[in-house]
Symmetry: C2
Subunit: 467 residues, 2 copies
Amino acid sequence: MKRSFFLLGVLITCQLFSQTDTEIIKNIYNASLSNGQSYQWLDHLSNQIGSRLSGSLGAEKAVQYTKEELDKLGLDKVWLQPVMVPKWVRGNPEFAYIETAPGKTISVNICALGGSVATPLQGVKANVVEVHSLEELETLGREKIEGKIVFFNRPMDATQINTFTAYGGCVDQRGSGAKEATKFGAVGVIVRSMNLRLDDFPHTGGTNYGDTPINQRIPAAAISTNHAELLSSLLKIDKDVKFYFKQSCQQLADVQSYNVIGEITGSEFPKEIIVVGGHLDSWDLGDGAHDDGAGCTQSMDVVRLLKETGVKPKRTIRVVLFMNEENGMRGGNEYAKVAKQKGEKHVFALESDSGGFTPRGFSFDCDDASFNQVLNWKPLFEPYLIHYFVKGGSGADIGPLKDGKVVLAGLRPDTQRYFDYHHAANDTFDAINKRELELGAATMTSLVYLVDKYGFNSIGSSAQLKD
Amino acid sequence: MKRSFFLLGVLITCQLFSQTDTEIIKNIYNASLSNGQSYQWLDHLSNQIGSRLSGSLGAEKAVQYTKEELDKLGLDKVWLQPVMVPKWVRGNPEFAYIETAPGKTISVNICALGGSVATPLQGVKANVVEVHSLEELETLGREKIEGKIVFFNRPMDATQINTFTAYGGCVDQRGSGAKEATKFGAVGVIVRSMNLRLDDFPHTGGTNYGDTPINQRIPAAAISTNHAELLSSLLKIDKDVKFYFKQSCQQLADVQSYNVIGEITGSEFPKEIIVVGGHLDSWDLGDGAHDDGAGCTQSMDVVRLLKETGVKPKRTIRVVLFMNEENGMRGGNEYAKVAKQKGEKHVFALESDSGGFTPRGFSFDCDDASFNQVLNWKPLFEPYLIHYFVKGGSGADIGPLKDGKVVLAGLRPDTQRYFDYHHAANDTFDAINKRELELGAATMTSLVYLVDKYGFNSIGSSAQLKD
């Protein structure tokens, strides 16, 4: 019966949008697909600037470039919000091999995990203990781990339809592997790349030593899935094979950086703020086209598309390009801190940080009443094959805004290819399809348009007006 | 009110499947994603055999290979169905340039359209008249067309969400451009590639001269979208620029080929046949990975997945790899002709011929009662993000089976990238994502499982059994 009430509810409430909405949303999609800017901006960000790790020259250039581009849009306000960010550098290219017998070696592809310490200058060579979970370290104990390199090799679960679920089920190895292995006397950590595909790219990503004293930290690297399979096979033949790796990464002092912000000030409720954003920083191996150049340029195009289609927002629409999502979350935290200090009222925040693939829908972090309100708009998205409206997480950068009132949402594109590229050297512009990116920008713009027009009744935003 | 009746209808009938169905479908998806064969088969078909234009050595090898692979599956019957197919060959690589002034030329990328005649040995050079529709030829008339090359340059409509709709709105230029231009004395036809992206690949595809006498046929080629833009720009500057092209393609005598067929004979209703298939032939420029190696290997995996997950079909499940979809439709026509001669009863046919991308749903060509029955199964597909169930076309190869009773369906994957590759040299294995292909195979298998179990009440297939 619950189901029938729900469906009848849809019937009763599905008049909560108008023919005008249908037309405006059509205009938004048409404008994005025929005259969008997201792809051109991303081309520049990816191919002219490149990777944008926090504190790097690329990140600095990206701040300048996106501010300049926002300046050109004729917004009411564009500014840089200062934030100090960590600066971790990879140093010289990493080098690694498997030694099956003295003098017999096979080179393998690794990359240092973000935040990892360097190996000693001469590298680390040791026997390998393969494990499939953090818990397995406990079972093995210090006796079997001390002096060895721990090889975390639990693959992502291919049977998960949502690849982010598979990622979530695996990433503890990368995030906490080094910290946990240290406790048992390991000398290094090698983690199977978070990649559902078998290929030759190592995928980086942050590792967290927690409160492990700096002089006790052990180096950690990711290995490509193909070479993880190779290492595992060789260990099955001979558990005494050795692994060697060398990396020279280091953590430098924090540096000044910025969130890039632009806004259209609301015509009726200027103090009610709607945020749309992505993160401007990226890892250093590719050019961060999917993660998260796509989300940034889509967000920039949200405010441009609103202007192009003649929408004059009642509420303030703010595009925020957050700095330092990948290895510190400083930008998201700073934005929320400043908003709180200023007593700003955020009614809605939408993040795109799941790749520039065909959009499928949104995930909403909000109360039931607001979610039900959003569900009423679902028919408006059906012509664009947007069908996936769920309650769940939103985005890392907008998470700090959470206050029990603001509605948070994340764009949910098709996930099947995302981890082929995530944090790897092949996360480059050529992996972006123009139409898919533009459909995402249009889908975001349409939702922002609806939220601006109708507000959220349940969270005390100003009442919706008649059409 | 119509809508509310429909929704209540869903509520009332949504019990028409069981918990067992949920579990079996989960098993099918798990098996495809963790142990699927479609990707490995497609790897061989694409990389070891390559393109498979009807009558080519590649097509012959593909027949042998897929028959051998079906033989290994332990089906009840595997056979080759003979069919004579046309043999068109491209000959030497085409060559073309734009001549802006005597001796000043710019090379451009073209490919002969399938079925086109050759140019004279020395090529064709003439002034160009750019048009955007077949109708525009009438308006211009013989006076402005005679002795010229007609350049069809209407682009695909970027604002169409379904790219097949954009294709359908454009492909008359390729299909009928040469035939129509002949009537006005044109000496050649150049068609903008059916591609939504601006790039350097010319896209082939069939052109049809109708009953134009052979000695009056004019050569026709596709030009890459980038070079179509260039040619159009140059014509705007100077309408007297000339175009030269040379191609040596020819139509040879028909040759013997085959549809490849395998079946699991039904345990209860062996005379009720369910077909699942794709077309084994491809154009000659790429390796036909998306069009339609993907559909073939997905279809092969349908019967394998049914066996692997322990489903014992009640009806006969037949995988059919059709020959000659691209330039003749001989295989599809022959299959239907033989089925009719034998008095076979086909209850359902499903084709996959829209690329190996993330599946979104199905399009059904059937009566309302059968479609409503299918809609009852939709909740079973929701966990796999399959949401798109519409009435519409099915597939070219199964079309000839249409008799007012059989239910026809086409798999509908995400369409955004399809025309980046369609009929072009980049339709190759590297454009296939393993998981997307496997999700398609699982989605097809799940629908075949349900149709086999429950039949279609409205078309006189045997009654469904209790679970």
